[in-house]
């Protein structure tokens, strides 16, 4: 182990961008590797379901173009995890295509590893039979039916597939779904650095500029590992890290700031200390890694949830707003009758009606029940087995909401202000998460095949 190892996190999400000035400053810091996380499940199940990114191809190409240029110029590895957002096969394929395109355009040559994270149903059934799959949080146990109805499922790899790819000679590692911190931990762990410090540093810098002040969102972040502590400093000379910005970061999107789960153990920050090393740099020590007696990977899977049609309108009649909850119930009953007349049974669709101005944001958790706004927004949503049923039910729901009677009604030509023509908006087939579980595996490489490509 050398006495220092440096890494640069260019962006918290590949395609969200980073400042070129920050990046160029970072490159001059004697780096051992550069990396970026490309993944997030925040935007919901659609992107994994469709296998598409939630950033543009153009933005991915811009970010990767700069990173490749820097990595090749400095002769250091470049690691990308959770390619394309969800890290599934079509998402990885898109980013791979972008990299190959850049390499061809600029005559770049390097060895690339592409690591896959999609899981086959046969493999999952086998794991389920052996009792190796369990819920990660408040979700039902997985059953054979859960697996059968899954449309696409990925597992989150740990550091081992990255390490294998590097041992096999890759300079660029393009990985499917991976834990954010594994991308940054793979190389330092291979070189023997303390796992508590490695994982904690990785957790902090995987969001790149998020811990920089001022928060431009465009900064790159430098992490420097030493044998008994690590340093975090922004790449851009005009921004800085504060003790508080770094300490607060483990709160973000985690249920606990003290215990952060990874495939082979838990990062424990209970005894971590944070101190301001200089104006721009924070020094962290005392973090521990508690190794688990089993190796688990998280599964993220989606199933098709039906074809969605939505409808948006406003209402400004005080008499209607005063009784809107009852009115919606009566409209629901009318939709049931009208759909039945079309031979569409209640089991063939789901209708949800959100009332903005009252409970559009929090639904049944909204504590203010008696709000009387001067206007409300209505968002109706139909999910049905197919497009035709979805559109047919929405047409009936729109009719019911627009033209049903209510006590004291004066606005008898129509109850809603409809902003668009056409009024009903087909959204397409939608997805919902049905696997959010952990799977125990014996070999950390087994579910993540590595493909080597010479460019």
């Amino acid at each position: 182990m050398s006495d220092s190892l440096s890494m640069m996190a260019t962006t918290g999400l590949l395609g969200y961008g980073f400042g070129e000035e920050a990046f160029r400053h970072g490159l001059e810091m004697d780096l051992d590797f550069i990396a970026a996380d490309a993944g997030s499940m925040d935007p919901g199940p659609h992107y994994l379901g469709e296998g598409v990114p939630f950033v543009s191809r153009k933005a991915i190409k811009r970010d990767i173009g700069l990173m490749l240029e820097g990595a090749l110029e400095k002769g250091v590895p470049m690691l990308i995890g959770s390619a394309g957002g969800g890290g599934s096969a079509p998402q990885v394929a898109l980013v791979r295509e972008v990299i190959e395109e850049i390499a061809a355009e600029r005559d770049y040559h390097f060895k690339m590893a592409v690591i896959h994270a999609d899981q086959s149903k046969d493999y999952l059934h086998e794991k389920l039979r052996r009792g190796k799959i369990e819920p990660l949080g408040p979700i039902d146990d997985a059953t054979p039916e859960t697996i059968n109805e899954t449309h696409r499922v990925v597992a989150m790899m740990g550091v081992e597939p990255f390490q294998q790819a590097l041992k096999d000679g890759a300079q660029v590692v393009l990985a499917g779904r991976a834990t954010d911190a594994s991308i940054y931990s793979a190389i330092p762990l291979m070189k023997g650095y303390d796992p508590g410090l490695v994982w904690h540093l990785s957790k902090i810098i995987e969001c790149a500029g998020a811990v920089a002040v001022p928060k431009s969102g465009q900064d790159c972040m430098i992490g420097i590992l030493k044998p008994d502590h690590f340093l975090v400093v922004p790449a851009h000379p005009d921004s800085r890290c504060t003790r508080m910005s770094v300490a607060a970061h483990t709160l973000y999107e985690n249920p606990s700031p003290y215990h952060l789960e990874e495939p082979d153990g838990t990062v424990v920050t209970v005894d971590s200390t944070y101190e301001q090393a200089d104006d721009r740099t924070v020094k962290v020590a005392g973090s521990r890694f508690e190794k688990s007696n089993r190796y688990t990977v998280k599964l993220e899977g989606v199933r098709q949830a039906g074809y969605r049609t939505v409808f948006v309108a406003g209402a400004r009649d005080p008499g209607l707003i005063a009784i809107i909850d009852d009115y919606i119930e009566s409209c629901r009953a009318r939709v049931r009758r009208d759909a039945a007349a079309l031979d569409i049974g209640e089991d063939q669709y789901r209708l949800s009606i959100h009332v903005y101005g009252k409970s559009g944001t929090m639904a049944s958790r909204e504590p203010i029940k008696d709000a009387m706004p001067h206007e409300i927004g209505i968002l109706a949503e139909v999910l049905a087995d197919d497009e035709e049923i979805s559109k047919a039910v929405m047409a009936k729901a729109r009719l019911a909401l627009l033209h049903s009677d209510f006590p004291g009604r004066k606005c008898i030509s129509g109850n809603l202000a409809i902003p668009f023509s056409p009024s009903d908006i087909p959204v397409g087939y939608t997805y919902e998460f049905n696997l959010w579980h952990i799977m125990e595996i014996d070999d950390p490489l087994e579910p993540f095949p590595i493909e080597m490509v010479d460019l």
Partner: protein, 103 residues
């Protein structure tokens, strides 16, 4: 008495994965942080009633080093499932803003 809206520097909500919603109450003054932390007001009973979950589903963790209190509850439905109103979970903090903390 003062409300959490007056006492916090950050009061945010966000998904912690597709199944959980996590709320961070952050402070920029250690005395104010300790006043809220030690008031006993932010407890499982309060959070369970505000978010309509059972008390054993509520996690509350004071995080002294960053002067923050972290509260985590299950989401109403998984992110993006039918009937969801907030895919990112970014606007679920409202009920906490008006909670009053004694002097």
């Amino acid at each position: 008495m003062a409300t959490l809206s007056e006492l916090t520097s950050v009061l945010r909500s966000k998904n912690a994965g597709a199944l959980l919603c996590t709320l961070d109450l952050m402070f920029d003054d250690v005395a104010v942080y300790e006043r809220v932390r030690d008031s006993g007001v932010i407890n499982q009973e309060l959070i369970a009633s505000l978010y309509q979950v059972s008390q054993n589903e509520v996690s509350i963790i004071p995080y002294d080093v960053a002067m923050a209190i972290k509260v985590t509850v299950p989401r109403l439905v998984p992110s993006g499932s039918f009937g969801d109103t907030d895919v990112y979970g970014a606007q679920q903090h409202g009920p906490l803003l008006t909670i009053e903390i004694p002097d």
